[in-house]
Symmetry: C2
Subunit: 218 residues, 2 copies
Amino acid sequence: MTNIRVLLVDDHPVVRAGLRAMLADFEGVQVVAEAADGGAALAELSKLHTLGEPVDVVLMDLQMGSGMDGVTATGKIKAGEAGTPPPPVLILTTYDNDADILAAVEAGASGYMLKDAPPEQIRQAVVSAAAGQTALAPEVAARLMGRIRNPVHALSAREVQLVELLATGMSNRAMARELFISEATVKTHLVHIYSKLGVDNRTAAIAVATQRRIIRSQ
Amino acid sequence: MTNIRVLLVDDHPVVRAGLRAMLADFEGVQVVAEAADGGAALAELSKLHTLGEPVDVVLMDLQMGSGMDGVTATGKIKAGEAGTPPPPVLILTTYDNDADILAAVEAGASGYMLKDAPPEQIRQAVVSAAAGQTALAPEVAARLMGRIRNPVHALSAREVQLVELLATGMSNRAMARELFISEATVKTHLVHIYSKLGVDNRTAAIAVATQRRIIRSQ
DNA sequence: CCGCGGATCAACCGTTCGGTTGATTGGGCA
DNA sequence: TGCCCAATCAACCGAACGGTTGATCCGCGG
């Protein structure tokens, strides 16, 4: 009996039902619990642990409407309780953005799949994760490769800071005051940012940065 | 036999499986077909129609990764084939923002639900839609109410359209071309938008509009 | 050690944006 | 019918932005 015990984490009942139905069709995979956000997921994990029914794989959405988000939860799961090896976390989300993927990987996720993946691919990923291997969706893998091969378009930390202020609607002067630098410097940074993002004005920069999840919106 | 025949439209296999499983639990509701995008949905509709097995309700996601999007599909479904009353379209999506809701309603959607809604609420919506009634998620209804109660700060449909383009980083001239109006008109709209949002420049307008969910952030 | 790149600043200039005033049209409502 | 408002356009002007050139300082790595 090599049953893989899975914890589902997603704030959408519809998606949970879909994953449950989908995984039910697979031999050797069993959904043992569900949670609507990261906090509930941690609670379930510790509950199941004390019951002596450990979880083999956590299958989790990255963006949760309310409560603890996926990245934070991944970190906390990986930090885990001493003595018990934390279960692999497989991220299953809608978007394939650089920032999301990097954040997930950084937090310790062992896989990153897209929700539009065919069932078989998701099953593969769960099995791989349970075996301690890394499972990346082809699109995601391609994106990571692209980043490594071509770091030209990466913004520096200072530039990211500028873009964040930019997105709040601040003028050059306001940003200059905020960062204790001159307006000239702000403009220089902006020019570099435009160049790296392939745009030619601040609003387009915000659009691209938001879309690429260089900054987070809302 | 009052069976409600449903067509599912969503580009995520996981979500389709979830809705299928969820609706299977309900008496009187039957999923008769599925489609991955708007184009496939139209094809299914006409196929089922010629087979003499009409669809009672279309349950559709608003944003489809590829192919025809939900708003366009809703419009085409409502345009329909002459002689046959088009089925009600129930939108089921992740985001609740003014722009999406207005676009969906304008295209002829008869309901707007959020994916994080509990199963019972979704069932209610399907039944209501089949009965020719309008079904709005509480959050959505509240948003529309807010718009009606407090029209001072409410943007007109045209202004919302402007803000959407604004957020993509377009210049006044580009927006003018896009909307087939003069740059002067664009500026007039922007001034009204700034005034209603309580800001004094475009980037701040985007920030506020995003925060108030007038437009989708993502 | 020297080069490279990031961060900082200055001066200049053309373009775009922001704000104002004023005007017309058409739809909805009293 | 007459009024209000949204939508459309024009002209104008000051302020802010966008782009360029050129410069200094500093830390990292070959």
